[in-house]
C-alpha cells in the first residue's frame, strides 16, 4: 500500500495542481474526495487534523498533501508530493506570465480574468463545505467559522494568526465547558 500510495497520490496531485483556480483552497474538496472517500488512504479525522496543522503552520493549506504523503512514504514522499503540488501550476503560470507580459492590457486578458473569477469562487465555496462536513463539528464548527468570518469582515486589518489562535482557544474553552 505504501509503494502504491507514493506515486498514486502524486498522480492525483498533478491534475489538482493545474485545477487549483482561485488559490489552493479550491482543491481541498477534490483532495478529500480522492484521498479519504475514494482511496481510503487516511481517515476523515486524520485529514481534518492535517488540515488544522497546515493552518496553524505557515504556508498554503494545500500542504496537507505534503503531510499525507509523509505519512504514506516518509521524507521522499513529502518532497515528491510538494513538487507534484506546486511545480505544475507554477510552470504553467510562469509560461503564461512570460508570454502574456507582452500583451498586458489587451482585451483577452480581461475576458479570461472575468470568466475564471466566478469559477474560482464556486470551487472555494465547495472547499468550505467539504471541510465543514468532515469536521463533524456541527453547530460549533459553523459558529466558530461564522464568528471568525464576522470579526475579519468587521476588522480587515486583524492578523490571521490572532484569528486562528482565537478560534483554537474559543473551541478549547467551549469543549472544556461542555
Amino acid at each position: 500500500m505504501e509503494d502504491d500510495g507514493f506515486w498514486s497520490l502524486s498522480w492525483i496531485l498533478v491534475p489538482l495542481s493545474l485545477l487549483s483556480i482561485g488559490g489552493g483552497a479550491s482543491i481541498i474538496a477534490g483532495l478529500e474526495t480522492e484521498v479519504v472517500r475514494q482511496q481510503g488512504w487516511i481517515s476523515s479525522q486524520e485529514f481534518l487534523h492535517m488540515f488544522a496543522v497546515t493552518r496553524a503552520a505557515p504556508g498554503p493549506g494545500t500542504m496537507v498533501a505534503t503531510l499525507i504523503e509523509y505519512k504514506l512514504a516518509g521524507w521522499t514522499g513529502a518532497v515528491v508530493a510538494t513538487l507534484a503540488l506546486f511545480l505544475p501550476s507554477s510552470a504553467l503560470f510562469y509560461a503564461v506570465f512570460r508570454t502574456s507580459n507582452r500583451h498586458r492590457g489587451k482585451r483577452w486578458h480581461r475576458v479570461l480574468r472575468e470568466g475564471l473569477a466566478p469559477v474560482g469562487t464556486g470551487l472555494m465555496i465547495a472547499g468550505v463545505m467539504a471541510i465543514l462536513r468532515l469536521s463533524g463539528g456541527g453547530l460549533l464548527a459553523v459558529g466558530i467559522a461564522g464568528a471568525a468570518a464576522a470579526i475579519l469582515y468587521r476588522f480587515p486589518g486583524l492578523s490571521a494568526l490572532a484569528i486562528i489562535l482565537g478560534g483554537g482557544l474559543a473551541t478549547l474553552g467551549l469543549r472544556a465547558w461542555g
Binding site: 503552520a57 470568466g115 464556486g122 466558530i144 486562528i164
Partner: protein, 177 residues
C-alpha cells in the same frame, strides 16, 4: 537575487492564513521599491486567475519581472522552504501529545477559524460578480455540483470554465470593453 530569496523566505515564514498579497506588496513595493504599484496590481490579477496558490504565482511573476527565470525559481524556493519544514515539524509535535483532548479541541478550533477566513474570501468573490447573473449562476452551479453533490472537480471545471469565459467575452463585447 539573494535579496529576492530573502524577501520571499520572510513572506513564506510568516504566511499564516490568507491576506498575503498585502505582505508581498509591503516587501516588493513599499520596502524595497523593486516594482511599481501598477506592475504589482497587474501581476496580482494574473496570479489570481490562473491555477495555483495565489501568492506562489504572485512571487513567481515578480521574480520573472525582476530577474528572469532564475529570479522566479529563487522566489518559489524562498517562499516554500519554511512552510515545508514547519508543517512536518508541527505535525510531528502534535502527534507526540495527540492523546490530550485539549490539543485536539484547540486544533479543531484552528481549522474552524480557518474556514471562517475562507468564507470571507468567498464573500469577496460573490460581491465581485453581484451585478452579473451569469457570474452568480456559475458560482452556484460549481458550489452545488462539487460541494453539495460531491461531483468530481475536473469535469465540472472543464465544462464550466469555457462557458463562463465565453459569457464574459460576450458581456465585454456588449460593454464595448
Amino acid at each position: 537575487m539573494p535579496g529576492l530569496f530573502v524577501a520571499c523566505f520572510k513572506i513564506g515564514s510568516l504566511s499564516f492564513g490568507g491576506g498575503l498579497s498585502g505582505w508581498v506588496h509591503r516587501e516588493f513595493v513599499q520596502r524595497h521599491g523593486w516594482i511599481t504599484d501598477e506592475e504589482f496590481a497587474a501581476n496580482l490579477a494574473m496570479a489570481q486567475m490562473f491555477p495555483g496558490v495565489n501568492v506562489v504565482n504572485l512571487v513567481i511573476g515578480l521574480g520573472e519581472l525582476l530577474r528572469g527565470p532564475g529570479g522566479a525559481v529563487a522566489c518559489l524556493i524562498g517562499f516554500l522552504t519554511t512552510p515545508f519544514f514547519a508543517v512536518l515539524a508541527l505535525d510531528g509535535l502534535t502527534r507526540l501529545v495527540a492523546d490530550t483532548r485539549g490539543l485536539e479541541a484547540f486544533m479543531e478550533g484552528v481549522a474552524f477559524a480557518a474556514i471562517g477566513m475562507l468564507v470571507v474570501v468567498c464573500g469577496q468573490g460573490i460581491a465581485r460578480v453581484r451585478h452579473s447573473p451569469m457570474g452568480l449562476a456559475t458560482i452556484i452551479v460549481i458550489a452545488g455540483s462539487v460541494g453539495v453533490l460531491g461531483w468530481s472537480m475536473l469535469p465540472v471545471v472543464l465544462v464550466a470554465a469555457p462557458v463562463s469565459i465565453a459569457f464574459a467575452n460576450a458581456r465585454i463585447a456588449v460593454d464595448g470593453g
